[in-house]
């Protein structure tokens, strides 16, 4: 263990100090897009549990995202979402392909040009095997304060389709604050929540980002439910690989 800590520290200290394109959070989006002409892959791994009870359903989600920079300020991405639920016979679901998402992001100005850097986000999703769709829009505001970065997202999602009992509008928000302790390490916290049919699901927790090399990074967050409607715990790791 001691050797591992020492070798990890040496790698961080002596490796390149170039800024890495790592995400600081896993729920909150920041002010970045993939550079023009470049492609990146992100692997999202999420595990959660509804409550702290031993027999609570536990959820697993795996996302494979491929994103590509169309211009310096505009990128596009495709998500393949896989899910699994461990629980009793009523709630359990085997590992399966759940949905396909198409996402696009546009930065409205160069970083630092506006008092608050503003990015628009749009996403369309289709559940596999059923007429269930969702469109989601986000307005992402962020600002860098030297080594400190703050980001706030306002979210609106509309769910519709013949296989849904009714059209639903879900509002949400996410916010995060992170500090760059080293060019390859960021420590912070984020909070996120949704509001649907007068029910607020709110969670918050720490966020850690590590850039292993110039083209590889990992971000890990743990979200602890602050209201009954939120999952008691959700842990997510995103691995980013620049191609």
């Amino acid at each position: 263990m001691k050797r591992l800590l020492v070798s990890s520290s040496l790698i961080l200290v002596f490796s390149s100090t170039a800024h890495a394109d790592l995400r600081s959070f896993t729920a909150t989006y920041e002010y970045s897009t993939v550079p023009e002409g470049k492609t990146a892959v992100e692997l999202w791994h999420t595990q959660g549990r509804n409550t702290w009870d031993a027999d609570t359903p536990q959820t697993f989600e795996q996302i494979v995202e491929i994103e590509h920079g169309l211009t310096d300020k505009w990128d596009i991405a495709l998500y393949s979402v896989f899910e699994q639920i461990a629980g009793d016979a009523m709630t359990a679901e085997p590992f399966h392909f759940a949905e396909l998402k198409l996402e696009t992001r546009y930065r409205l100005a160069d970083r630092g040009e506006w008092p608050v850097d503003t990015l628009l986000y749009f996403e369309a999703a289709k559940h596999f095997g059923e007429s269930a769709y969702a469109v989601e829009g986000k307005v992402i505001g962020a600002r860098d304060f030297d080594r400190l970065t703050a980001a706030v997202n306002a979210i609106a999602e509309l769910k519709f389709g013949k296989d849904r009992p009714e059209t639903e509008l879900e509002l949400g928000a996410a916010a995060g604050l992170t500090y760059q302790v080293h060019p390859k390490v960021r420590l912070g916290a984020e909070a996120y929540g949704t509001y649907e049919e007068a029910e607020l699901a709110l969670a918050a927790g720490p966020a850690v980002s590590l850039a292993g090399s110039s083209s590889f990074w990992i971000t890990i967050t743990a979200g602890f439910g602050l209201t009954d409607e939120a999952d008691a715990l959700r842990v997510r790791a995103i691995i980013g690989i620049e191609l």
């Binding site: 970045s32 160069d110 970083r111 630092g112 600002r143 860098d144 304060f145 400190l148 110039s214 620049e242």
Partner: protein, 107 residues
């Protein structure tokens, strides 16, 4: 509740007032010292903000020495997908401004 709102507004104002890391503007003195056109240095600054800023905060010239910048650009040029001309202009700006006297390298 009212106190919380006031505290949030105050905190937002305090954060907004904090300085940002912004690459310094080049001056005619910098251009003359390096024997380059001021317009090229200005273009280098703009490209640094646009190309580097798509992923992260743009670097400041003084983050590295003028001798270190070329190797840093070797690494970052591919990741930012810079063409030869863009790379040259950005490198020129960072190298020239890394050596700028403190008075001309205002952020």
């Amino acid at each position: 509740m009212r106190r919380a709102v006031v505290a949030c507004v105050f905190a937002a104002g305090a954060l907004a007032a904090c300085a940002r890391r912004t690459p310094p503007y080049a001056t005619t003195i910098d251009a003359q010292r390096a024997n380059v056109e001021l317009a090229e240095l200005e273009q280098g600054r703009a490209l640094t903000i646009r190309k580097c800023g798509s992923c992260h905060q743009p670097p400041l010239p003084r983050d590295h020495t003028s001798a270190e910048w070329p190797s840093k650009l070797d690494e970052m040029a591919a990741r930012a997908n810079l063409d030869a001309r863009q790379r040259h202009v950005i490198e020129q700006y960072l190298v020239v401004m890394a050596d700028a006297p403190a008075a001309t390298a205002k952020r």
